[in-house]
């Protein structure tokens, strides 16, 4: 047999420490209560064992005080578990603002990972140590799940919408990446490795491989090919709303509702524009469902994200694409 007998997983992200702390709290509480019950059962079973075949137990009915005691104490212990778990969960749900964004597409049975600068990886992910990394993920077919035990992060990856996770690696090394939502025949081998590198090594790796330009550049090209630029002009005078500064802003819809222009909103507005109509515009954008694939959608979203807000905007979509925030931030760490 190979592999030895590991009893505890490696800890390689800032989150791992917090998850393990909560784990040890729960382990402590449950060991205490389990051992208490075990000891009581053993002591009672021996001390009060039947000594004569016609012996019966003492006629004790119950005790209100005890009942209240053993409802209230477990309740309080549970509320600590709830509060601790919930606050940790909220921290996991909110990626830090300057996180480096990587796009992930899962399909039966492989992971495609796209860096914003253009590098594409299959079943491998290279990231620098000490940087916040945000993964925006979707699936081409069934539900998958992106799971890196050493980082203690996991999220289902669904068709038709985006989910995201974030982590900050703390230790260079190679860590397992698993699919942990059953997805068919080769579910067990739909995995790979996350390689955490020193920043300098990561820069070398990034500049090493061939690249077709950044994701936003590819998106800008696609934006023109699909003739999106005919209507979505930056001046705001076109048939469609301007997309400059749209990403992350609050959009007013027909009927008075508002929505945050996040990845899922943009995705829906491209694939099925009639779902939500921006106030003041007509529902005449064509449906792109079936015309763009998941990778192209991510390129378009990266492009829209790259369109800086008006004060800094040059008005030229291509020029704006180059000021994609993560790229300079990556270099800062060298």
């Amino acid at each position: 047999m190979q592999g030895g007998l590991p009893l505890f997983p490696e800890r390689a992200s800032t989150m791992a420490r917090h998850v393990d702390a909560l784990f040890f709290y729960l382990l402590g509480v449950s060991l205490f209560i389990s051992l208490l019950i075990l000891v009581l059962i053993i002591v009672f079973s021996i001390k009060y064992r039947r000594r004569a075949s016609n012996e019966i137990g003492a006629p004790l009915g119950g005790s209100m005080k005890l009942e209240v005691f053993w409802m209230v104490i477990p309740f309080l212990l549970c509320m600590v578990m709830f509060g601790w778990g919930a606050s940790l969960f909220m921290a996991m749900q909110r990626p830090p603002p300057q996180a480096m964004e990587i796009y992930v597409v899962g399909k039966q049975w492989m992971w495609k990972l796209q860096h914003p600068e253009g590098q594409m990886e299959i079943n491998e992910l290279h990231v620098p140590v000490g940087r916040d990394i945000k993964l925006t993920m979707t699936s081409e077919d069934v539900i998958h799940d992106f799971f890196v035990p050493a980082f203690r992060v996991k999220s289902d990856v669904l068709p038709g919408r985006y989910t995201s996770i974030w982590f900050r690696p703390t230790k260079p090394g190679r860590y397992h990446l698993f699919c942990s939502q059953y997805c068919g025949t080769n579910h067990a081998v739909m995995g790979g490795w996350v390689t955490v590198m020193e920043p300098a090594d990561f820069e070398a790796w990034m500049s090493g491989g061939p690249t077709q330009g950044s994701l936003a550049e590819a998106g800008a090209k696609l934006f023109r090919e699909l003739a999106c630029n005919n209507c979505h002009v930056s001046s705001g005078q076109g048939r469609g709303p301007s997309l400059v500064g749209l990403y992350g802003s609050i959009v007013r819809l027909e009927g008075g509702a508002t929505v945050v222009a996040d990845d899922n909103y943009l995705r829906e507005s491209i694939l099925n524009p009639r779902a939500k109509i921006v106030a003041g515009y007509k529902a005449d954008m064509p449906v792109f469902q079936g015309l763009v694939n998941e990778e192209q959608l991510l390129e378009l979203i990266a492009y829209i994200q790259s369109l800086a807000p008006p004060p800094a905007a040059s008005g030229q979509p291509g020029a704006a694409a180059e000021s994609h925030p993560p790229a300079p931030a990556t270099k800062k760490l060298q």
Binding site: F8, I37, Y48, A52, F82, D141, C179, S180, Y182, G184
Partner: protein
């Protein structure tokens, strides 16, 4: 066999000898005979599901998988889950022990709808035939959870026949639940008030509510999967505007309460065992009874804790996390009250008690690890890993199956009229307990290390723990085979039991073993509180003599 002519007066009429022949069994409306029919059906399914488990554990002996292909492995764990959950665990205690005992315990002649009871057995077997059909023709590979869109669009295995099987099995479950509810409401003997009911009846009442209210939802949900598969309607398919998460909400709305269908009856059995073998009133009767209903009600509002990493809104996740903690409280109340019942009791170490105490131990471990899974930030790490597999096996096998076997031993003298071999039975109970822990405890560690469930192959560092688990499973297997052999043996060769061998306080022990066809020769009138050993002059204890002990001289002779 002696002919009736030689000794007509000695031959007492029982439900077993009142008529003979295949027809007298297949057309019976006697709840006791139907219980035995169920016993045969679910025992077959238990060993079929167990056979799949054996293949799974053998396959996982090596990291690359040593026995079958990936496709076959996926079918094995799916069929293991489908068979064990829908065709063994859900019917196990209610349809066998509940069917046999509820009328006896409340002093009734039969269930309220005897023909419906027989119909539910036939429906169950019809469903079972569909399931066997899928096994023989190649199986199904979606997991017992049938997650869409895999099940509705991508799997090319026998999804629809399996769904049809589960759909029909659901009707059998609904009919059984309905029958129990009406029976418990309307057919209690004079003096058998609600708070004189044994806890076994209370837990079956709670279980029946879940069966009647929850089962239609899973039937509709699985029908929707079949409809999407056959007619390509857009229900769960996101490409056509459907929502795959809708399936998970609907599925778990039944399938989480279904866990309580499995474990509540086992809690009822355990309560009977603890009181009978400590010869003591149940500590906090009203609290334990209320906890049963509490679990059934709150259990309907915790379903989305199966979906914390599925893309749920974080605020919804918080609500379901806090509700999941609330459902833990009534379970804790039960455990504390059982433990307190032992205090100053007269504790016997007979086989059923070993199962009862084993149940408490394993249920505590299963319940405690459930708290880990309800903690949102921690669930993210352990969700869909072997930690979950270990957790629910502690509840459903450690809990429900231990309860079932404990109950089967305890009421075996009533069912068969004979006693099982005590020493062998104690040995089997201990083998089961050890084998169970050896099988499933390593899986907690595997889960925290990060091994995902439903993997036909795994990284080499997980091998030692997997081998340990398989070794444990082989011990567990022996533990399951032993009772089957000696219980069958005892039906013919076991010592005659008498009507109340333990003795215990329930009404079922007031009538001869095996009971007459209509349960009681005279309708009993109940004037006593439940489990009140001290207040019952009618109980006949064995002649006092010292139990075999090393250091205690005979004190009472």
């Amino acid at each position: 066999m002696s002919s009736p002519a030689t000794a007509p007066a000695l031959r007492r009429e029982t439900y077993l000898n009142v008529s003979f022949g295949v027809k007298s069994w297949l057309l019976t409306t006697d709840h006791k005979r139907i219980a035995l029919l169920y016993l045969v059906s679910i025992t077959l399914f238990f060993f079929l599901g167990g056979f799949f488990a054996v293949l799974i554990r053998l396959h996982l002996l090596t990291p690359e998988g040593s026995l079958v292909t990936a496709e076959t492995y996926n079918k094995l764990f799916t069929m293991h889950g489908v068979v064990m959950i829908f065709f063994f665990l859900i019917p196990s205690i209610p349809a066998v022990l509940g069917n046999f005992l509820i009328p006896l315990m409340i002093g009734a002649k039969d269930l309220a709808f005897p023909r419906l009871n027989l119909a539910s057995w036939y429906i169950f077997n019809l469903a079972a035939l569909f399931t066997l059909y899928t096994v023989i023709t190649g199986g199904v590979d979606t997991g017992w959870t049938f997650y869409t869109p895999y099940s509705s669009l991508y799997s090319n295995t026998h999804v629809v026949p399996t769904i049809v099987g589960i759909f029909f099995a659901g009707f059998s479950s609904i009919l059984t639940g309905l029958n129990f509810i009406v029976t418990i409401h309307t057919m209690r003997a004079p003096g058998m008030t609600w708070f004189r009911l044994p806890l076994f009846v209370w837990t079956h009442y709670a279980t029946s509510l879940i069966m009647v209210l929850g089962t239609p939802v899973v039937a509709i949900t699985l029908t929707l999967v079949a409809v999407e598969r056959i007619f390509h309607l857009a229900i769960f398919n996101p490409a056509l505007g459907g929502d795959p998460l809708l399936f998970q909400h609907l599925f778990w709305f039944y399938s989480h309460p279904a866990v309580y269908i499995m474990v509540l009856p086992a809690m009822g059995v355990t309560t009977e065992l603890i009181t009978a073998f400590a010869r003591k009133k149940l500590f906090g009767y009203h609290f334990v009874a209320a906890a049963s209903l509490g679990i059934a009600v709150i259990g309907f509002f915790v379903w989305a804790h199966h979906m914390f990493v599925a893309g749920l809104s974080p605020y919804a996740a918080m609500i379901f996390s806090i509700l999941s903690y609330l459902v833990a409280i009534p379970s804790a109340v039960k455990v504390f009250n059982w433990t307190a019942t032992l205090y100053k009791g007269s504790v016997s170490w007979a086989t059923p008690m070993l199962y009862g105490l084993g149940f408490i131990g394993l249920f505590v471990m299963g319940g405690m690890t459930g708290l880990f899974l309800a903690a949102l930030g921690l669930d993210v790490h352990v969700h869909d890993t072997y930690f979950v597999v270990a957790h629910f096996h502690y509840i459903m096998v450690g809990g429900a199956v231990m309860g079932y076997l404990g109950g089967l031993h305890y009421w075996w003298p009533k069912i068969s009229g004979r006693l099982y071999p005590e020493a062998l039975a104690r040995f089997a109970a201990i083998v089961l307990f050890v084998g169970f822990n050896l099988t499933f405890f390593p899986q907690f560690i595997l889960g925290y290390l990060g091994m995902p469930r439903r993997y036909h192959a795994y990284p080499p560092e997980f091998q030692v723990l997997n081998v340990l688990s398989t070794a444990g499973a082989s011990i567990l297997g022996v533990g399951y085979l032993l009772p089957m052999f000696y219980l069958v043996w005892s039906m013919r060769y076991g010592p005659i039991a008498g009507s109340n061998p333990w003795p215990a306080t329930g009404l079922e022990w007031q009538t001869p073993s095996p009971p007459p066809p209509h349960n009681f020769d005279r309708t009993p009138v109940v004037t006593w509180e439940p489990y009140d050993f001290a207040g019952r002059a009618d109980l006949q204890y064995p002649v006092p003599r010292p139990e075999p002990q090393m250091f205690q001289p005979a004190a009472h002779d």
